[in-house]
């Protein structure tokens, strides 16, 4: 079939597991022009199709697995796929994104996404081979780990099949179950794997042999090449460090800047960082040769962030897989564990069980602090910070909901705290029920503010504002965000505008199907490189350093006319539709905040000693942010005027009917 826009396949697969039916639904024009695809379209689709009263694990709940219009095209970074639904962990908007080969394969099979609803009476998996789509018996796969499940599906359907699977943790109802693509690529945050398992769906496997066309082939080739070259020429990329160490480069980097969460966020500097660092992993466990030690890449991406390693001997011999910084920090510095083998092992256990390493590791770290404070009965475990054996044992117990701590931990740290009581809430690091990622918000203010407002709860990837960490010339910050302070990690000035801009761009990249590690880790984002050249004391080579022009790239692929401003507006629209979902799922303005620890306890030692997230500043920043977003100051609900400005009158009407529009009384809405 040919769709009027390039890049898109033009249709979604819609599987109703209660009825056992699979339908094809054509893409609607607005999903492409206004919400772009991927994350944006998924949110709009959930808003349109799912009644707000439906609970996350009810059969009627929907879950979307969607690549974007650029996914599967010649890169840079076109392997992304988005997973969205209502989160069982937070009960608000759940969303996670992964770099894969699965997303491109689905596009080659001829689909822009898979939407799943209903509940099968017996375990099944969905197998897609181009136009041949079947629900198959998964009785023998049920209960198996992600790795075994994936291997068996490859055996059944051929080695070039791509597999998205859930593991036993999700089956057991652990509330932060992940979806794992092709053994190692996780969409784990907010527990959408648990939603799939609740539908008795074990996996979605796909083999696609078709082709994707673009609207303007020559123009597309030129912009894709230009974007690819922008990464190759980026000074941050050229050092080779990120490629050599992957995201684990952040272990030593974060420690040096004083934001590496340590012992459940009590501190932000880990004395054992060297022992769990990217460098250490490269030297001990990497499996590939120089010059790309273990560097594996997602589809059509020059960055190759994925570190593949293997433990050959000792207690954890046989452990293998990809590691990323977040899991290393969650099971490492956050638990005070400096035994890299144990961290690697725990991380791969979490992947095989199919659960979010961040929520899992943070929950264990939380337990360790409660144990230290004498607030926890530890089920016979020595849950001291730094005890690697206890940490690994807790991963098993949580995945299997074994014992009281396993049972409580499986529900995430916030619910566990409620059950434990005794003032344990004071040691939580959750926002909106989601555990905080591996960057201390007290030491990095844009990150910190981002956690407070991120649509899926405490998370950096809604914005990924690493701009503040890159030691930019002050002029760049002043010109882009109105304050010289915005280039300073520890300061507040300009950080709201910085964050909102990054959020908009991030919403765009998640929607079109490209990666966050293009606009942020390397400041290859319009117009940052150009401004760096303008303001840098020593000029970088101006013929090389340049930004990626997302709007031209999108336009060449799809044929939908696009400008930089319109693209940012689309990003704003995505943030607003997610806010609309959240308010209808009961989100309160009071939940746009940070955990008490970050507002009250200064960082005790290390490079960020004495830093705090000032609660007065936070409140000021929220007011500025709501104004920028067009949200009501009192309720935090979207205002009709701003929604209409974003061409979202249908959303405004629907929220109005449900009594969920902001009143706008005494506020300055819609900037």
């Amino acid at each position: 079939m040919t769709f009027k826009y390039g890049g898109y396949a033009g249709q979604l697969l819609f599987a109703d597991l209660s009825k056992g039916t699979v339908k094809r639904i054509p893409l609607e024009k607005e999903w492409c022009t206004h919400y772009l695809g991927g994350r944006g379209r998924d949110a709009k689709l959930l808003f349109e199709k799912q009644d707000p009263s439906v609970g996350p694990l009810d059969p009627e709940a929907h879950i979307c697995i969607s690549p974007g219009p650029l996914t599967g095209l010649l890169g840079p970074t076109t392997g992304r796929v988005n997973v969205a639904g209502r989160s069982p962990l937070t009960t608000i908007y759940g969303n996670s994104n992964a770099g894969t080969n699965w997303g491109p394969e689905l596009k080659f099979a001829g689909y822009d996404g898979v939407v799943i609803t209903g509940r099968s009476s017996t375990p099944v998996y969905l197998h897609i081979h181009d136009s041949d789509v079947k629900l198959l018996d998964a009785g023998k796969l049920w209960g198996e780990g992600v790795f075994e499940t994936t291997a068996r599906i490859l055996e059944e359907h051929g080695p070039e099949t791509k597999v998205a699977a859930v593991g036993p943790a999700a089956e057991h109802g652990v509330l932060f179950g992940s979806v794992i693509f092709d053994f190692w690529d996780a969409a784990a945050r907010t527990g959408l794997g648990t939603v799939l398992a609740s539908k008795n769906l074990k996996a979605v496997s796909v083999r696609g042999t078709g082709a994707i066309r673009v609207a303007d082939p020559e123009g597309y080739y030129e912009t894709a090449r230009d974007g690819w070259q922008a990464i190759l020429d980026d000074p941050g990329f050229k050092t080779g460090e990120h490629s050599a160490l992957g995201t684990s480069i952040c272990v030593n980097w974060g420690n040096a800047q004083g934001w590496l969460p340590t012992r459940n966020f009590k501190e932000s500097f880990f004395e054992g960082a060297d022992k769990i660092s990217g460098e250490e992993f490269r030297d001990l466990y990497s499996t590939k040769e120089a010059p790309i030690p273990a560097g594996r890449a997602c589809f059509s991406c020059p960055n190759r962030c994925k570190r593949f390693g293997r433990i050959e001997e000792g207690k954890y011999a046989g452990t293998k897989g990809n590691i990323e910084f977040e899991g290393v920090s969650a099971f490492g510095s956050k638990c005070g564990v400096d035994d890299l083998a144990a961290v690697f092992h725990a991380y791969m256990l979490a992947n095989d069980y199919g659960m979010d390493c961040i929520s899992c590791g943070n929950t264990i770290a939380f337990y360790m602090e409660l144990a230290e404070k004498g607030l926890l009965e530890t089920d016979g475990l020595d849950l001291r910070f730094g005890n690697a054996d206890a940490m690994v044992e807790m991963v098993h117990r949580i995945a299997n909901r074994e014992g009281r701590l396993g049972e409580l931990g499986a529900q995430g740290s916030e619910r566990a705290a409620r059950a434990i009581g005794k003032g344990s809430e004071a040691y939580l690091n959750t926002v909106k029920g989601l555990e905080t990622i591996a960057c201390d918000p007290r030491a990095s203010k844009a990150f910190g503010f981002g956690y407070a407002v991120a649509s899926r709860g405490s998370d950096h990837l809604r914005a990924h504002p690493v701009f503040e960490m890159l030691k930019m010339p002050e002029g760049v910050g002043e010109e882009l965000f109105g304050s010289k302070e915005s280039v300073d990690l520890r300061k507040y000035g300009g950080k709201v505008r910085l964050l909102a801009w990054h959020e908009n761009i991030a919403a765009v990249t998640d929607s079109i199907g490209s990666c966050r590690f293009m606009h942020a880790s390397y400041y290859a984002e319009y117009p940052v490189p150009e401004l760096v050249n303008k303001y840098a004391k020593r000029k970088k080579d101006p013929s090389n350093i340049h930004s990626i022009k997302y709007h031209k790239w999108f336009e060449a692929a799809t044929g939908i006319p696009m400008t930089y401003e319109k693209l940012l507006e689309a990003g704003d629209r995505v943030i607003n539709i997610e806010r609309a979902l959240n308010v209808q799922w009961g989100l309160k303005r009071s939940q746009d905040t940070l955990p008490p620890r970050f507002l009250k306890e200064p960082i005790p030692k290390g490079p960020a000693k004495g830093e705090l997230f000032d609660p007065v500043k936070l409140e000021e920043m929220l007011r500025e942010y709501y104004t920028l977003r067009g949200w009501d100051q009192e309720s935090g609900h979207p205002l009709e005027e701003h929604l209409k400005k974003l061409d979202m009158a249908d959303v405004a009407a629907c929220l109005g009917k449900r009594g969920l529009l902001g009143s706008g009384k005494g506020t300055s809405g819609g900037a």
């Binding site: 599967g72 095209l73 010649l74 890169g75 080969n101 491109p104 080659f108 790795f147 994936t150 291997a151 092709d182 053994f183 190692w184 696609g208 042999t209 078709g210 082709a211 994707i212 066309r213 673009v214 082939p217 080739y221 690819w228 190759l232 499996t287 590939k288 040769e289 010059p291 790309i292 273990a294 560097g295 594996r296 890449a297 997602c298 589809f299 059509s300 991406c301 020059p302 190759r304 593949f308 390693g309 293997r310 293998k320 897989g321 990809n322």
Partner: protein, 165 residues
């Protein structure tokens, strides 16, 4: 002097940009299935292996083709295929030791790498050396000299005392 594609698994990141670059150059669409070269991804072991036509000296595909649709191009040394002459018998696919010949069900003909007339597109998208294009005659010399330079460096380090435990 003939140039050929060198496939180097140790340097391949498995990104598959070469696949979609190839299909785009040849067919103006993005489709690994239409690519002349393929990366075998053994995800479970974290291994990526680039594969494609080796343009063999004694190419079995040339010998087996009953309609002489496959021949060696003198200018580039490439083993090339004339799709319009192909009868779709697929015997070349059977005898190719590398799985480098593919069947296009739309055209009902096989297709394979032709080295893009001596300017291969896949190489333009690979900057880690997973696939590169070079003179076969110079291959051993290049390796010899890289080895020699390693020795040179080791000797220098021994002199300055670096490299000692």
């Amino acid at each position: 002097m003939t140039k050929k594609l060198f496939f180097n698994p140790a340097r391949c990141t498995g990104c598959r940009a070469c696949e979609v670059a190839c299909s785009f150059k040849k067919e103006k669409v993005f489709s690994p299935e239409l690519s002349r070269m393929r990366v075998v991804k053994l995800d479970e072991e974290g291994v990526d292996i680039p594969t494609g036509c080796e343009h063999c000296e004694g190419a079995p595909c040339i010998l087996i083709c009953p309609v002489r649709a496959i021949r060696r191009k003198a200018e580039t040394g490439a083993v090339v295929l004339d799709g319009s002459a192909c009868i779709g018998c697929k015997q070349c696919m059977v005898v190719c030791p590398f799985g480098a010949i593919h069947f296009d069900p739309t055209r009902k003909a096989v297709f394979k790498c032709d080295l893009c007339d001596g300017d291969p597109e896949c190489v333009k998208w690979c900057f880690t050396g997973g696939v590169s294009f070079g003179e076969t005659a110079e291959l051993p010399a290049g390796k010899r000299h890289r080895t020699a330079h390693r020795h040179l460096k080791a000797q220098a380090e021994a002199r300055t005392g670096r490299g000692k435990a």
